[in-house]
Symmetry: C2
Subunit: 342 residues, 2 copies
């Protein structure tokens, strides 16, 4: 048994109005007890910072647009839960060996006690354990399911993805390319756009500098929407007959304090026979094996590339989320909270 | 050969700004020549007045929301084309006998010459030829395809339809009931609401008097949208997880001169995994036999009921369209321009 220092964790201290502030979070130090029979102690390597976490900070009743069955809100005074990956340092559960790497949903803490439920083993031979939270984890699966199952892309089609330099968007673009599509991406900085071109996007533009409607003027067949807002309106205008909108996220609106107006051209859904369909990756866990079987090798041989923006130290997780919502990341936003495998 | 008087027809005289005005139309008298070899002369009984015709009055370039591949705009100085039904009074085409009733798309005129292309025979034994433009015609097929193929309703689900007292909406509600659904309808007057209750809607409300969100507070599975605007927003809020929006029309916006803002809660498409899908009935002509086989008997035996609002005389067709857009019809809006079969 390894002797462990106290664990530091991040709690939700207050529900943000608009953009989260550092004071909406609290850094708390706790003593983690020795695992009881059936439990394992996990020392986290990385905790995940994902756009959907912003919605969970709202009181669902007051935040009408996040109402309904997504994920329940964080509780005030409780840990910011979410995906994380760590190594089992003590096991009193026969299902998990000490030394194994596991992905879990216990969130923003250095040490986590688990009864084993919901732990998913990660094969550390497949690369950095950080990828279990990104290109080979929930964001990668989101891209895969959204593109193939929801968007039903076909070779020869043009796919436009917004938030293209994020963990989901960059996977969307590269998987679409490997499926024979033409790919256009939008992102929020010159550096992001340069990276998109480097990883094979046919076209990429900075939405600050380029009018989306002009960048999309040749038409698109599928819009993978990570941002919502005016970009959705531009995409609706650009979609061809029988085009699809894969409704994945709306990061441009997550800090909104009022319902933002929707796209004024939604009637194009009728005239162009469009299909707009939302999905949540957690409904599609059954697709994980197919995803790993197909995309895993692409990642290992470099056909699908990824980047990570890594913030050091659990105490900086709030800043990482605030930064993510402001578009400061390229690729997957992570917080390193302990030793990894590489 | 029957000797015919001059034919009166309605031309588009000007493109409306906002609601159409009588001056946007012109009544024109023309001499119709004798049919040439291969042609037939049709004496119309009824011409159809349909919501989609408003969009065709716009110059597609200036009316951004009607842009894209719907139906081409009417030409200035030309006949308002669209569905009509009439009897063949002279035939020089072996495919059509004199006395036969045919549905065609030659529009708002008393007499029509046709080379036979696009003419569809209507069995006058199945009821008034007027039904070929309503419950047994395009509006009925729209309801059938939208509900079954696009919405994929299942027995036990709750279906909400707006514009429920119109030709499409009233068919939607009754077909949904016959498929084992619970049905809620909205309409714009007490008389319409009373009729909806009479034909078997489980609930019906006048949207002027009732807050839609309250009327729908038990939740819905499918929203058949004929009106767009605030009703779409209320329906998005009321839809259950994996609900569907059958995007058929947006009559509340057809007279708009600017793009109206879309629903502010469109992000619910993601959180509730909704599917919103548009369709245009003309893409689904192949379903006409199945529709007539299933719905035809229902109409004949009274299981599906219908009403018609009939305006007399081709010269009043413009007023009929203006009235339709203001919600003055109950059921199918028609203009009687000649003798029918009943």
């Amino acid at each position: 048994m390894v002797s462990m220092p106290p664990s530091r964790e991040i709690h939700l201290a207050a529900r943000p109005q608009g953009a989260p502030q550092p004071t909406d979070f609290a850094l708390v130090e706790t003593e983690v007890p020795e695992p009881a029979e059936g439990q394992v102690l996990i020392r986290n390597a990385f905790v995940s910072v994902d756009p959907y976490m912003r919605g969970r900070m709202n009181d669902t009743k007051s935040a009408a647009w996040s109402r309904a069955s997504y994920v329940p809100p964080f509780e005030l005074g409780e840990v910011m839960t979410g995906a994380a990956v760590g190594q089992i340092v003590t096991s009193r559960n026969d299902g998990f060996e000490e030394g194994a790497w596991v992905v879990h949903h216990l969130g923003w803490r250095e040490l986590a006690l688990s009864n084993g439920k919901g732990l998913v083993l990660f094969d550390a031979a497949s690369g950095s354990v950080s990828t279990s939270l990104g290109v080979l984890g929930m964001p990668g699966l989101t891209a895969y399911v959204g593109l193939l199952d929801v968007g039903r892309v076909e070779a020869g089609e043009t796919v436009f993805v917004s938030g293209a330099a994020g963990a989901v968007g960059s996977a969307v673009g590269q998987i679409a390319k490997l499926k024979g599509c033409r790919v256009i991406g939008s992102a929020g900085s010159a550096a992001k756009v340069a990276w998109l071109r480097e990883i094979g996007f046919d076209e990429a533009f900075d939405y600050h500098d380029v009018v989306a409607g002009e960048a999309l003027s040749d038409g698109i067949d599928v819009y993978f929407d990570n941002v919502g807002g005016p970009m959705l309106e531009a995409a609706l205008a650009a979609l061809r007959v029988r085009g699809r909108v894969v409704a994945c996220g709306a990061i441009s609106q997550y800090n909104a304090t009022e319902w933002p107006a929707g796209p004024g051209n939604l009637f194009l859904v009728v005239t162009k026979r469009l299909r707009m369909e939302g999905f949540i990756v957690s409904d599609h866990g059954g697709r994980l094996p197919a995803f790993l079987a197909e995309v895993g090798p692409w990642v290992r041989d470099g056909a699908v590339r990824y980047r990570e923006t890594v913030v050091e130290g659990i105490e900086h997780a709030p800043a990482a989320l605030i930064g993510l919502l402001a578009g400061e990341n390229i690729g997957k936003m992570l917080v390193r909270v302990g030793p990894g495998n590489t």
